[in-house]
């Protein structure tokens, strides 16, 4: 074992832009630098495009009563096949009694579920029924009853953001919505976007770069069950406005870099590129926007076609977010990054410090001759 000089520290306070937040940067030459994170827009060059995920985070945790057994259950909405607000069918992870202060992996098991079981949400008229138990006893497909407006109104009143034991204080939606949050489709916050504020969006523009968004239904980061965790991330629907696709094309054509704020942006853009959806005359929806579902896993050996720079939270080796970094950086270099993060005691999880990773691995578009800058 390699000697460790430090370790990552869990960030337990829900502040999106704490004054002391740090940013570890890895440039194309392999140089590692640590900066105050508030200076991150200084790394953006003229001609670059910064892309962020504008998904708002659902209050995806619901306390429910399992009608057949009368027992308490926590529903954690985890996935949906579409981004449509009238789609009230969700895949959900169920936890037994207790709350977020207990580590997810230590939570009691929920009662046994069967297709047709009803789950009532106390204090509301909302209820859901189990359509099927998926391939794990804690993982079910649920359909909520009632009309979409009734569902959304009740969800807003009864639901809370999904949270974990490292943040003891109960979270409110304002803790987990980024400043650009719009469509409520994420199951956990696209937290790399916590570094964005309106001053940084203005700074990007004043540096001669551009800013664009897409919408990606970021899923759960942990279920507390190793078998289920190994399947993360689940397929995630996303939507890319035509303006964003056009800016990606223009940026590539002039040799600018695509800077992705968060792994969800990488997943969406790379999925779209791999399926030809970013090309001109791609099959557009009525609003000049296209939607699809990212079902690929990114990691070592993945061919990237679009993203040059990834801005992400600080993730421990072994997590799916960390695995995605291997698509950007060869393993020996990533190992140096991990040691530097631990050595500097970077703060991890959604309210922690960040990394700026410039790709060292070739991608087809990177290999193209570049125009004058």
């Amino acid at each position: 074992m390699r000697p460790r000089t430090g370790t990552l520290v869990a960030a337990g306070t829900p502040a999106q832009r704490p004054a002391g937040a740090r940013l570890l940067t890895l440039d194309r030459q392999g140089t590692i630098t640590v900066l105050p994170r508030r200076d991150w827009t200084g790394l953006v060059w003229k001609g670059d495009l910064v892309v962020a995920n504008d998904a708002a985070t659902l209050p995806a945790s619901l306390r429910a009563t399992h009608r057949p057994s009368g027992r308490a259950v926590e529903i954690r909405l985890a996935a949906r096949r579409t981004l449509r607000p009238d789609d009230l069918v969700f895949d959900a992870v169920l936890l037994g009694e207790g709350d977020h202060r207990t580590r997810t992996e230590d939570r009691a098991a929920p009662p046994a579920m069967a297709a047709g079981d009803a789950l009532a949400i106390p204090g509301t008229r909302l209820s859901a029924s189990v359509i099927e138990v998926l391939d794990h006893p804690r993982f079910v497909r649920l359909a909520f009853d009632g009309s979409p407006p009734e569902f959304w109104s009740a969800l807003g009143r009864a639901g809370r953001p999904v949270q974990y034991a490292h943040v003891p204080e109960p979270l409110a939606l304002w803790d987990v919505w980024t400043v650009i949050a719009g469509p409520p489709v994420a199951f956990e916050p696209p937290s790399a976007g916590f570094l964005l504020d309106w001053a940084s969006v203005a700074a990007i523009r004043s540096r001669g770069a551009d800013f664009a968004t897409l919408t990606h239904a970021a899923g759960l980061s942990s279920t507390g069950d190793p078998v289920l965790d190994a399947r993360l991330p689940l397929p995630e629907p996303y939507r890319i406005p035509e303006r964003t696709a056009a800016l990606v094309r223009e940026t590539r054509a002039r040799g600018g870099r695509i800077i992705a704020i968060g792994t969800t942006v990488v997943r969406a853009l790379e999925h779209a590129a791999a399926h030809g959806l970013l090309e001109d005359r791609s099959p557009l929806g009525a609003s000049g926007t296209f939607a699809s579902t990212a079902d690929q896993r990114l990691g070592s050996g993945t061919q990237r076609a679009v993203v040059d720079v990834l801005v992400s939270g600080t993730h421990a080796p072994g997590t799916s977010h960390h695995e995605l970094l291997r698509a950007f950086v060869p393993d020996p270099l990533l190992d140096r990054v991990d040691r530097a993060l631990a050595g500097a005691r970077f703060r991890t999880h959604e309210f922690g410090d960040s990394v700026w990773i410039e790709s060292r691995l070739p991608s087809p578009w990177n290999a193209r001759p570049r125009g004058p800058r």
């Binding site: 708002a56 449509r84 949050a181």
Partner: protein, 246 residues
């Protein structure tokens, strides 16, 4: 801005706000209800906010707009409003218009500031200044997304001549509306680059429940109907949206 200066001519066939995605607060009475109706007639997609569940359901049924039961003066309600907006008119990630119309008169009958309880001033500020601030801030992502897609998106803050004139008895209302007008002016300057315009417009006196509470017994027949003011406000919005961004 005076609404009488607005050019109301519209020669195009479709209303300039047809297809626009709009949110209106205080949408079940007076000017707010007139705005919801006028926007729906123009072909806009509308979500509105008001406090009384039965009235919200009634207006939703009548207009086909999405009704949201909430109090804009309550901090805890604001993200819930944004959630329901995002699941309805904001589902594609963009908004074109937010009208912060819901207002509180402050204590009625109207009284001098010296007789105004601190709590009454706080309540007027919560409804007329903090509420519009919070809701605009929470919806700024979709508003900026609307602004990036070509035409500017608009935040319309409904103002009053009490924001400028020092009318005795109108202290809580006038001070909160003056604050809102200045907030609008600063935010408009800050958000120009995002393609979001923030307007504060005085619609003038109207025959509304708020007017009746402020000045009971006034001659209602002499007052303009809120529908006329709503059409003039929307014409002002359409004019701003028609301006090409520099």
């Amino acid at each position: 801005m005076k609404i009488t200066e607005v050019d109301r001519t519209d020669n195009s066939e479709a209303h300039p706000l047809a297809g626009a995605r709009a949110v209106v607060t205080g949408g079940t009475s007076g000017l707010g209800l007139a705005l919801v109706r006028a926007l729906r007639s123009a072909g806009a997609e509308v979500a509105f906010v008001a406090r009384t569940p039965a009235r919200v359901a009634e207006v939703a049924r009548e207009t086909g707009a999405t009704g949201i039961v909430a109090d804009v003066a309550n901090k805890r309600d604001v993200h819930r409003i944004a959630l329901e907006v995002g699941a309805s008119v904001g589902r594609d990630g963009a908004l074109d218009l937010l009208v912060n119309n819901a207002s509180s008169l402050g204590p009625v009958p109207l009284r001098p500031l010296g007789d105004t309880d601190c709590e009454d001033l706080e309540a007027a500020l919560a409804a007329n200044l903090l509420g519009p601030f919070r809701l605009t801030k929470t919806l700024l992502g979709p508003l900026a997304a609307g602004g990036r897609s070509g035409r500017p998106s608009v935040v319309l803050n409904v103002s009053s001549d009490a924001a400028r004139g020092a009318y005795p008895g109108w202290g809580a209302y006038g001070a909160s509306k003056a604050g809102l007008a200045h907030l609008s002016a600063i935010w408009d300057a800050e958000l120009a680059a995002e393609g979001v315009r923030v307007l504060s417009i005085d619609p003038g006196d109207m025959d509304t429940p708020l007017h009746e509470r402020a000045l009971p017994g006034s001659d209602r027949a002499s007052l303009p109907r809120p529908g006329e003011a709503a059409r003039a406000l929307l014409a002002a919005v359409a004019t701003v949206r028609g301006q090409v961004r520099s």
